[in-house]
Amino acid sequence: MELYARGRHLLRDQPGLVVVAVATLLLVGDLLGKLLGDGLTAARFGGFVWDGLVIGLLIGLAGIGLSLTYSILGFANFAHGDYISWGAFSGWAVAYLLAGIDRYAAGGLLLIGAGDGPAPGDVGVSITNTPLSIVAGLVVAVGFTVGISLLIDRAVYRPIRDADGITLLIASIGVAFALRYLIVFFFYSGRQGVTDISRVPSYDIGGVVINAHELTIVVIALVLMVGVHLLLQRSKLGKAMRAMADNRDLAQVTGIPVEGVIRTTWILGGGLAGAAGYLVVLTQGTIAYDLGWLLLLLIFAAVIMGGIGSVYGAIVGGLVIGLASRLSLIWLTGDLSSFAEPVAFGLMIFVLLFRPEGIFGGVSTA
């Protein structure tokens, strides 16, 4: 009786949660059936999980910045995806340059093969072949994106700092399109190969094939995340940021250096976005002017799921979204595989409708 009453309450108060729980149970059951039967081999399953983790970590990495700016500056930054794209293009321009400068003209390399520049197979960038150029590219990607973020904040957002969230959001859409098509102006509008996949070693771990680039991504992403954790927990500025993410107005009256915190937020968020964009190209092997935009909705999904303002939430949300989008491929086979992305978007809409404070329930952990 007691149980029944509780169940009825849950159904009334949290209908979304109940639906999700039931659906998850059904899917897990079906998954077990598939694994035990011969619908799905363990290796294939492992492959999906690994892919999901890799993309999930990148989404989480990029999501940290979006989450922080959302809560500290009070608007959804639709240009965040294009910061990611610029991170990718700036970083890979330099990685290309360093990897091929001994054989090719600087111009074609800097434009990552635009026009009649050298082909990726000829330049041969990969973590094993040209590790230094890859690292240098990462550093530039971070630095360049930080620069862009600060510059845009100064020129665009600071003059309208006190405007409402929608005004800022619309301005950010303007920034997004300007940034995105500046890439097209300098580089190109198609999708182009970048890394030399043929020379990337891969390892077979119990049937799951993992390549060196994916390993690199996981290592770098984890290092960056730990770094952010330490920064937020240990440093004074980090504490101020957490305070502001928690309650902006309160933080303001308690004498926190608001502009300083905002600057740090952009540095952190922009830098991580740049790194994420650079690393996305490392796993995909190709680069395109709209790669950040294509990721942005997934990142929004992660951030909203994790609770806006929460750094750890963004990371967990990223992993959930990454895994969901890859694991959905277990069911979405053949022509339906094109629905992996819509599934992730759908998941986000669901969270927004039924748990707008995030799946961890509004507890800000920063």
Partner: protein, 456 residues
Amino acid sequence: MSSDQFQTGRLTQFRELLERSDAALVLTAMAAFYLLFLGIGAILNYDVAGLISILGQVTFFTAVYALIVLALNLHWGYAGLFNIGIAGFMAVGVYTMAMLTAPPTGSPPGLGLPVAVGIVGGMLAAALVGLVTALPALRLRADYLAIVTVAISEIIRLTYNSPAFSTFTLPGGIALGTGGASGIGTVPSNPVQAIYYVDPSSAASGTTPIGAAIFGFFEAVFGVVRSAVIVDLTYGLVLAVVVFLVYTLLARVGNSPFGRVLKAIREDEVVAKSLGKDTNRFKIKTFMLGCALMGLAGVLWQGFGTGAVYPQAFRPELTFYIFIAVIIGGAGSNTGSVLGGAVFANLLFLLPQYLPNIIEQTFSIQADPNNFIAAVGPIAAGEIAPLLGYILNQRLPALRFVFVGVLLVYLMQNRPEGLLGHRTETAAAVNLSEGHTAAEQTGSDLTAPEGGVDDE
């Protein structure tokens, strides 16, 4: 001296006319745009048929932009609903129309229904998708609504893009399809063709009596033998009539108790509720009506206007263009929406397409480098032509996006109310002061109305 004064007097009179009469404002703007593009045609040495064609284009793009901006203004300007999934709702409208009307023998096959059924079906489908979106999403904060609508628009586009529904069979064995990434090429022809051709889908089928008369007139008077430009111009004019009808419809919505509630919701939803208004119902109805109009705009623009329906036409860039147009005009004003649509369509969309030809013709630029470095390299040697060639021939569409993005930022910083958004139109079906005199009452402790307005 005195003639100068006379002229300024005329000018002020004209400005007052523009401020008083919306029709005069819109007509003046359109006259200016027509003149501008006729001038461009003249510079480019177009013949009469070419000039008619350019006028047809101006009319078409002005009308379709005005139409879609009016629909968005209903959402955002009237009800404060921040919908950035416009492209998706347009796609639903035009895809539904195309799937209902495409011939069953086509590839992908359609249902072969009459065009009118297709148009109504497209609007209904868009309204239904709007309802499905609105029912849950209207409870959300404005920024969440934005994220949800843009996600839905992408889901719609990816669904149409997916090979999964490229062709499928309905229960009952009727085949149907979206055509996947390549879309639907067999869209029914523009209904205006029926006026001119015996078989509306083919210009070769022979002309109707009306067609023969009009084509004959143009041939005799202007020497125009390309009948297609006349058909296009006619379609543009039909669209202008549609815009007028939609404008009237929305003006009625605004000037009514319904519109009054929307205005109240936009300002303070709690107050609207505390005066007994079921605000959700108002918002859902408004959202659905707006979506239906977006579906209609999709049908008239990408359906009959472009003649081919494919998923890439409904990327978020389209939504972005429409948003810029509504912000230029000023959210909240229908006349502003038409003006914003006209300004965007002509100055930001069409003009850049003619600009390269004009510049190249005037400065005779031949260079056409295919990458940025090759374009800027020669500057060291004092040659600027390669850079211009690169910009004009290779990257003008990209630069247009950059420019429009910067413009949007500028507007948000300096003129978020747009051209006419500051205007206030009273939301009532009758003149509320008729028979009463508010201003003449003495004892007013407020500043005289004139002083108050001029200050701002």
